[in-house]
Every structure is written in C-alpha cells, then in structure tokens.
C-alpha cells in the first residue's frame, strides 16, 4: 500500500531528515510512527502526500511511484489519501459541515450525494449537533474530529495523521484514537505519526520507531519504547 524504498531526504547538506529508509505498509494496517522530535516523522508524512520530493530513493503509494506523478495529477493522488494534522487545518470561513463537504466538492461530487453523506459522517464522529458551527467556536478535540471527518468522507484507502492528538488532552486523545481505530476497521490503511506514548502503548498496533532518519525498531503489536 505504502512503500519507502531506500528513501533519503536531505533538506540541506547538514539536515538529513531521512537516510536510506525502507518501509512497507500493507493494506488495512494501522501503523504508528514514533521517535524523538526531529527524527523524521513529519518528513515521511509529507513525502507520502507528495508535498515534496525525496532526495534519493522511491516512494510507492497504491502501487504508483510518486516521482512519476506529474504536478497536475497530484490532486487525484491526494484524494486517495485522507490527511489529519496537529493544527487541524480547517478552513476558518466554513462551518464544520462545509469543511467536510469541501473535500467532496473538490472531487466534483453531486450536491445530493454531499447532502446525504456529510450528516452521516458528522454523526460518525459524534458532531451531529455542531454541523453549523465555525471552527473557532469548536474545541480542539471537536475540530480534530471535523478534520478526521473531512479526511474520511470520501473513504480514501489511506489515512495519514501527523500528531493528531498533539494539541489535545489525554481524554480527548482517547476519543480521537478510537475514531482512527474505527476507520482502520473499515479497511482503511492508517498511518499515525505521534509522540503520544500512552496511546501507542494502549493501542498495541505496529510501531515503527525512528531515530535520526533511520528505522531503529519495527514491531507488530509494539509499544512506544523498547519493552524490557
């Protein structure tokens, strides 16, 4: 589903964020990317979204080599990858429901389909009562649920999240993780970059640990740190 093959990403001569990294993630997996600050987690996420190109090596998403995707095909690529960020990245001038609808509008979905789908997904994330609220009127956890709803509304095969609970308190974080877990159970491949030690330990999913741009540990049903 997602494959990193010998990927190196150097932002400049001295900042090498990823070094000859190999990783394969299968369809339907739930993978945590963990590691100290600056270890290269966000860099991996941005490479998957083709926000930038690797310095060397190749990345495959859904069997497509990203470097062979031309600029004008990037939108199609991204429609197959839902993304969730620490800072939510909601459109401030749109209500919660409009934010979710926007992800469907960009793909040219019919109004009728959008009208039925958006309330369903808002219900799924538990925000049926806040559809018409603007992001600034929502709590951080609520905003993150809106952004997850937006990422998932078109049911993309892959969902990537970069520190989705980074700005949230532990209880709220549990709710967000449960949501991601439910999405994973529908068959969606989920990749979560996180610092959230407790969460990783509780979920018992595959854990890929990075250190200075290299994979130092890759464990099915792993924990945040090495278990003794």
């Amino acid at each position: 589903m997602i494959r990193f093959s010998n990927v190196t990403k150097a932002y400049s001569k001295d900042t090498v964020a990823l070094e000859r990294l190999n990783l394969e993630i299968d369809q339907g997996e739930f993978v945590f990317l963990v590691g100290a600050s600056g270890s290269g987690k966000s860099t991996m996420v941005r490479l998957i979204l083709k926000e930038m190109e690797p310095s060397a090596g190749a990345i495959f998403v859904n069997g497509t080599k990203l470097s062979s995707v031309p600029r004008r095909r990037i939108p199609q690529l991204r429609r197959g990858i839902g993304c969730v960020f620490q800072d939510f990245k909601l459109l401030p001038n749109k209500t919660a429901a409009e934010n979710v609808a926007y992800a469907m509008e960009v793909t040219g979905q019919r109004r009728r389909v959008i009208k039925t789908k958006v309330p369903q997904i808002m219900d799924l994330v538990g925000l049926s009562s806040k559809m018409d609220k603007f992001p600034e009127m929502l709590s951080g956890g609520e905003q993150q649920r809106v952004s997850i709803a937006r990422a998932f509304v078109s049911q993309p095969p892959i969902l990537v999240a970069d520190e989705p609970t980074g700005n949230l308190d532990p209880n709220t974080s549990v709710g967000i993780m449960q949501l991601l877990h439910r999405i994973n159970r529908t068959g969606t491949t989920v990749v979560v970059a996180t610092h959230d030690r407790e969460m990783v330990d509780v979920m018992r999913k595959r854990v890929v640990a990075l250190d200075e741009g290299r994979i130092v540990r890759d464990k099915v049903k792993g924990a945040y740190a090495d278990e003794v």
Partner: protein, 294 residues
C-alpha cells in the same frame, strides 16, 4: 469533473463579503480607470464627429476687403464657370454684419459698436462635392487671393486638429497610465487577498483540490468586481455624454456636436469588456502565480 457554477459563485460572493474592504478597493480602482478610458472615448468620438461634419461643408468663402465692385463681379463670373462650383453668392458688407448679429444674437455687446464695413464683403462659393474644396481653394490662391482671405473646411479641420490632438494624446496617455496603474492596483489587491488566504489555499490543495478548483472562485471574484466597477463607470460615461450633448446644444450652438457621434451601445460594451478583462485576467494571473509556488 462537473463544473459547479452555483458553488463557485457562492464561494466568490462569500469571499467578497469576507474581504469587503479589498473588494471595494478593487471596484473603485476599476471604476476610476474605466471612467478615464470612457471620457477619452467620448472626447475622441466628438472630435471625430465635428471633423466629419465640417468635412461635409460644401462651401468655400472668399473675403474681399477693400476690393472694388468690379473685381467682385469678375471673380463671381470666373468662379461660376469652374466645373467644381455649383453656385456663387455675393455677400455684401451689410449682409455680413447682419448675419454676424444673427449668430450672436444673445451677446449684443459683441456687435453693438460694429459698423458696416468692419466685416468685409465676400463670395460664398458652393461646391458640387465637399472633397473639391482644396482644389477650389488652390485655384483661388492662383487668382491672387491669399490664405487669410479664404475660408474652407481644411483650415477648420487643421485648426481643430492642432487644438484637439494634444488633448486627445494627453487623454490617451492618461488612459494608458490609468490602465497600467489599475492593473497593478487590482492585481496587488488580489495578491494581498490571496496572501491573506494562503493557508486556506494550501489546505484546499492538501484535500485534493485542483489548481482550477482553487482558482475559479477568485476568477469569479475578479469578474464580479470588474463588472461592477466597469458597469458603473460605463453608465457614468453615458450620463456625462448625455449632459454634455444637452449642454452643447444650448451653449455651443455654432459647434456641430451631434449626440449620434457617440455610439452608446458600443461604448458600453467596450468599457465593460475592458473592465471585466482586467478583473478576470488580474485574478487569474495572480492565483496562478501563487499556485506555482506551493
């Protein structure tokens, strides 16, 4: 992909409402620029109209100050025999004064102290075709009548041109400057509003919006602003023309100004098209340039 006009229009109107100050600036700039362009069009149309009607004038006048009765009769006969000439009328000094009084009836101080004899007697030569005026003037000069004692359309046209050409060039220059300034101002206003919304645009791109999808509401925004600014300016120009023609009918009776010299419909279309082109082109280019960078 379906083109969702309703969605894009709604987005454009929402953006205009949310960035009202920026929109007003863009509309005002377009308005001023198109107004200047429109006034330029008006002036040149009227000048052309006047020149056209002067050209239609089929007479050449020969003033004959201090020439005797016989000389006038001789020239009258001679000119009457030229094939370009339809008829020749003699205007005596008294008749000249009477007609002058007639023209300036409302300004008696102009002629109160004039005696017969101040205005010279003349011959009015009617031509068969206005295009022949220059050749008749040439023949008269060959007869010994110099330029100052002749009055024929070409002189008027040259005098008109020397006065108005500076004015028209000035107007054209001003219009071009205003066009450039307004394109700069408008694209700057758009750039600012894009910059203010760069985070939003990045988010749109992240959730899979194509460049075209991001750009279209901005282009509609430019279109609406251009249409509004240029539309108001075009209506103002037409109103100004109406006022001017009306005023000139009463105050400039001796200048052949014609309301028909200005084709209202085409002025309206030209101005609105230019305004819309500026708005649409400006937003399209600014957004495209921004999208290339992300």
């Amino acid at each position: 992909m379906r083109f969702n006009l309703g969605f894009f229009l709604a987005e454009a109107f929402k953006n205009i409402r949310l960035n009202l100050l920026m929109s007003i600036t863009a509309v005002t700039t377009t308005f001023i620029c198109i107004l200047v362009l429109g006034v330029g069009l008006l002036v040149s149309s009227h000048v052309e109209g006047i020149i056209g009607s002067v050209r239609e004038d089929v007479s050449v006048e020969v003033f004959m100050p201090g020439r005797g009765e016989e000389e006038m009769a001789a020239l009258e006969e001679k000119a009457g025999s030229w094939e370009e000439v339809a008829s020749v009328d003699r205007v005596s000094e008294d008749e000249a004064l009477a007609s002058f009084k007639d023209t300036f009836e409302e300004q008696p101080d102009l002629y109160e102290n004039l005696d017969s004899g101040v205005l010279p007697a003349s011959l009015q030569i009617q031509l068969t075709d206005p295009d022949l005026a220059n050749s008749v003037a040439g023949k008269l000069k060959a007869e010994g009548y110099d330029e100052e004692n002749l009055s024929y359309p070409q002189q008027t046209i040259e005098r008109l041109n020397s006065v108005t050409s500076y004015m028209i060039w000035g107007l054209y220059a001003a219009t071009i400057l205003f066009l450039i300034a307004s394109v700069l101002l408008i694209s700057n206003a758009i750039r600012l509003s894009i910059f203010a919304r760069r985070k939003e645009i990045e988010v749109m791109k992240l959730v899979g919006a194509t460049d075209g999808f991001v750009r279209t509401p901005f282009v509609f925004e430019g279109l609406i602003q251009g249409l509004l600014g240029a539309g108001l300016a075009a209506l103002t120009v037409i109103w100004l023309n109406f006022l001017f023609v009306d005023w000139s009918r009463q105050e400039l009776t001796f200048v052949p100004i014609d309301g028909d010299a200005v084709n209202t419909a085409s002025v309206l279309v030209i101005l609105v098209v230019v305004g819309v082109a500026i708005g649409v082109g400006g937003s399209f280019l600014s957004v495209t340039r921004f999208l290339r960078k992300i």
